[in-house]
Amino acid sequence: MHAFEEWPFVIALLGLAIPAIFAVAAVALPRRAELVGAPALAMAVCFTVGVALFKGTPGDDGASLGVRADAVTCVMLLLVTSLGVVIAHYSRTYLQGDPGLPRYQRWLLLTLSAVTTLVIANNLVVIALGWTATSIALHQLLTFYPDRTAALVAAHKKFLVSRLADACLAVSLVVIHSNVGSLDLDRIEAWTTAHPHLSPSMQFAAVLIVVAVALKSAQLPFHGWLTQVMEAPTPVSALLHAGVVNIGGFVLIRLSPWMSQAVFAQMLLVTIGLTTAVLAALVMTTRVSVKVALAWSTCAQMGFMLVQCGLGLWHLALLHLVAHSLYKAHAFLSAGTAVEGWRVDALAKPRSAPSPTRLVVGIVAALGAAALFIALVQHFVALSPADRFSVPMLAILVSLSMVPLVAQQTPSIAVYTAGAGRVIAVALLYIGWHVAAAHLMPTHVGVSNYLGCAFVGVGFVGLFAVKVTLQMAPNGRLARAIYPWLFAGFYLDERFTRITFRLWPPRRLPRSSTQPTIQLQKTIEVGT
């Protein structure tokens, strides 16, 4: 049927129009950036409807015009364009009166254009270039106030890390091309199906991709730029944390058929991700300002997402990516409500740490619920080999994280009921989203990462133990020993800052704050 055969082409055009409209607007009318978001979002919706209706119909060969039209593309396009609408609209009011507003809007639109380009691309070169373009466009936003030394230092750090990542990516692309003969995503997927056992060079290429992703996802010890870029207007932070820093996860998901076979890369992902998730989450609890705490939380969440990738739980990684984006964009944009939140908290009566008994009851109940859940699932659902380990691991993790919802309560039927209701609601939501995500993305029968699962389980149970100990004894021996390290962020960033200063010093504009030093030269001459 001729009409049907045209559809993939139309859908692809629709996809291409989204980055194009952002780019055109950036050049033609940066002053009215907020007007572009809605049409782009509308096109993303049409694209999604098109994919939903015509996926798998004759004529669908996966990718026309270099546009990959699948569920992941749809989800990411909807995410990025929605964020684009909200952030552009917010920025317009927020920066009203700032003479740099047109410049800001222009780079905002170019960033969105670059992100949407890499989202729809079916080719790794386009993805890599889009990623680099995103980073460079964002760099202009991060240095929006060029007289702020701290902004420049952080942006330079980010720039250095990103270019290192680009280099890794480039080498990796060369290796892939020499093996596969193409850099199209569908060709790589097909090649992987044909070659389930990866050659050492392809293993190496996968490891390089993981390194690039880790560098660009603010994983320890290269996280410093992310936790120090509060020097740009709030919506830039929202954009960075919700729409840019997670691209690494997206790229891994794109390459998941191949990555599922890459054992070393997977182990590396789990190691880096788990270390970052656990350490950054603990550091987060010592941060003193709202935005910096949010930034450390992003590090941890990105680590968690990479762990999910490393365990082959690709659909969960996608879910986490999207959920985190929405949450974090909102958290940054509404960071000014912190004081109001504090005032509401101050109305509540201060509560002491949970009693050991209640805590033990909470833990036992949590583990019991987890065990019950695991038993039920194993009885009723045919689990894939990979899930046989990951499901129990996640069940334990989720149930342990419910402990704060139940352990601190004052004895009252109403509070217990409300608490139990919340636990059930959260659990149902959690399971529901997971099932939905699993339907959205095909799973790959990859190498089952038993070791990784065990590793992750131990890591998070350890995190729980440390956290509970610190809560129970805020001035205890562990707290005193560990606090200075957490407060210092394990001193992971200091050396890198020093190196950045040497390699690419922040330009120093003549500002009044530098005046005393200038004047000083004179006074010394006078004095001596």
């Binding site: 909200v86 609209h89 009011t93 927020y94 009203q96 009166g97 700032d98 030394t149 701290a150 509060m230 020097e231 989450a281 987060m284 010592t286 941060r287 003193v288 709202v290 935005k291 705490a293 939380s297 959920a323 929405l326 964009a329 909102h330 509404s334 960071a335 000014g336 912190a338 005032r343 509401v344 101050a346 109305l347 509540a348 009566k349 993790l397 989720v398 994280s401 601190q408 004052t410 608490g419 919340r422 959260v426 659990a427 939501l429 989203w433 005193r480 407060f487 210092a488 001193y491 800052t497 020093r498 120093r508 005393p516 004047q519 000083l520 006074t523 010394i524 006078v526 004095g527 001596t528």
Partner: protein
Amino acid sequence: MSHLNAAAVDPPKTSSGVGSPFNPRLDEAIESACARIAPAWPLDRFIAVNPFWGLVDTPVSEVAAKLQAHSGAQLLMPRAWYSEAYRDGRLRDEHLQAAIDESHSNMSLTALRALLQQDEPARSTRARVVDLVDADRDLIHHMSWRSFITQNVSQFCAAYFDNGQAQLKPSREGGLYASWRRHAQKDRSPSLLMGADWYSKYPHDLPMTASDLTVTALAALDIPPHEQESYLWSLLLDQNGWASWCAYQRWTARLEGADDTTLSELLAIRLAWEWMLYRSGGDGLARRWRGALASWAQIDAAAAAARPHDWLLQTAMEIAWRAPVLRTLPSGFETARPTTVSVQAVFCIDVRSEVFRRALEATAPSIQTLGFAGFFGVPLDYQPLGAPTPRPQLPGLLAPRLRAQDIGLGPEAETQRDRALELGTHWKSFKTDALSTFTFVEALGLTYLGKLVGDALGLSSVRSVDQAGLSRTNNTQRKPRLIGSVTGQPLDFDARCDLAAGMLRGMSLTHRFARVVMLAGHGSATRNNPHAAGLDCGACCGQTGEVNARVAAALLNDPEVRKGLTKRGIEIPETTQFVAALHNTTTDEVEFFDLDELPPSHRDDIATLGSWLKDAGARARAERAPRLGLHEKDPSRLGRIVQARTTDWAQVRPEWGLANNAAFIVAPREHCQHLNLHGRAFLHEYRHQEDKGFGVLELIMTAPMLVTHWINFQYYASTVDNERYGSGNKVLHNVVGGHIGVFEGNGGDLRIGLPMQSLHDGTRWVHTPLRLSVFIEAPRSAIDAIVQKHANVRALAQNGWISLFQLDDEEGAIYALRAGRWHPVGVQAENAGSPRSDPGSSVSSDAVRSRE
């Protein structure tokens, strides 16, 4: 009036807890250095403060020179700003000449005009050890020690004082200094980030206490005794944000009769850094340090000589603004007090009320409006239902003596609220906990799409903090009322009557009561705004006036209290009804409270008043709109636009607050009612004929006048040096410790004062920094007596922090207090060409004469 203890406003002068018992002189130096730092209130109680409050006993131009020498701060606008005003014709030769004449300067007009064309001289600032070390460093390729230390100490202070952001905190055992010492001994960032290999050994040599450190370090640095105070002060200025926070700790402690030593401990921390850097530098640094020490006197002299004549420009700007006011004000002196009044509407003295009152008077000429301190003279704190601690609802100069609580709600409501708030805290810890945050994001992250959309469209309902955890029904039944003193004892009948009488006398409303007396507090409506409290009330601890207005109205409606008032000579007719209200300064809407207690006889009056207020609101909005960049002409559409701004989470300029404030007028309203003051004047009702013994005048000049001065100088300082006394760019703000203050961006020192967005619209300053002109309609002798009696009032008037004017309603003239003498100004002065002195009414204080 005894409840307003004016003594509480004196800058505290008691001795500090830190200092060596063997060296009383050093103790004194530490104490004086600390006393120069003004407190900065936290964001939830954002009180406007004059950041130079500890320096008002020195003439403002000398303070400017000192600040420049010690920290590089500026107290004047750049010359380009004055010359722009001159080019625009806002500042003219006559103003410059008047400034020269007033100051008895030997400057010529030509020379002053020439000054407008010149660049400011280079600033000279005293070098500290840290500056010497930095001067030796390649600051292009290395971080400067100055920014490192500021950041390091700032982060530590934030962690130490935090009680709302971090879940894990450093141990506070032993106090700020001891805690920092432990931190310093483990800190590896100086070696890793700054490459200071020497650092590891020095912190272990730090003395155990702040006082020992101060003694040891000052001796090692060889600071001569007469320079110690200045040197210590300059170190505090290097960390002025946190120093102001510590000064706040001390201020509140002292209001409660206790004390706090964190400020001198912070000083010790900065000093410890100086000492450690000094030790690291060896003989070479020691030699240069001696040179720097020797240059201090020279730098002080250079700073004093830098811009003394620029103060003539500033004075001329003030004269230029005042000239039309002085010219037109006397014509109102003969206006008689209105006889038939339908409603008396009492508003806060706040400059935003002036616009609304003018609109209301134009809408309904039968209304008489009055201005009174927005806490209605009730020095209370308020403990919302179930809250563990009360919060102050009065100017920060005063300690609360009375307590209000929510009545009208049963214990079930309290339990319900407790439960709701408890569940709220659990939810928050589930969201932010190190482990469960992962689960939270996966389970609930997607629901934030709804929140994003809701907030972007401004759909989320805005509820005030006081309503948190209360159902809508409970909230309407909630009635904040006076329950007794802060100690929990109920207030006896006489005390309640005295309170009511003091309130009415304070607003000069003791007879000729209208049928309805509206007591309107004020509040603002903004979203996602860390500095929201500053818009609510820059005076009354950043709270809205709702509680105070409701408490005051209920007290004055109490039949028993009215009987007591009769005995005190204040006869309130039975037909008079007080009604509490809240003026929303963002939308110019007025909301009534406790209408259920209103007798049916007054329903129609309130309905009429309500419609007048609506019309007045539309007028006021139309007047304010152009400055907000709104050019909508249709009133209802403008109303909707203004309303939408209050729920817009991206709105950084919801209203202009008290920007452009310039004057404080203490007089009967009818005497200044003919003026359009463009929302630039604080207005206080006062009738000196009714004030026997001038007790009310004394109160006004020692409390509301100081409050208006604090607000005025908060705006002034935030404008002339936003980097040091303002909080910078709002789009970078990052709330510290839940409520302590903001960082601008990632870190740096704690920022105090107002954000740029409250002062500047992106292209020009919306606030014109003018020192407050105070106009008082009262006998000169009465004003003199009060000026003489109160040291801080005298200091303000004498040292150029405010300009004091007397409105002589009998002569129809205005007199200015200059250098302790009254000079007639206005019409007569213009006719005479130059101001004449009036020997009959000088302030004959020795202190004043000695300044001349």
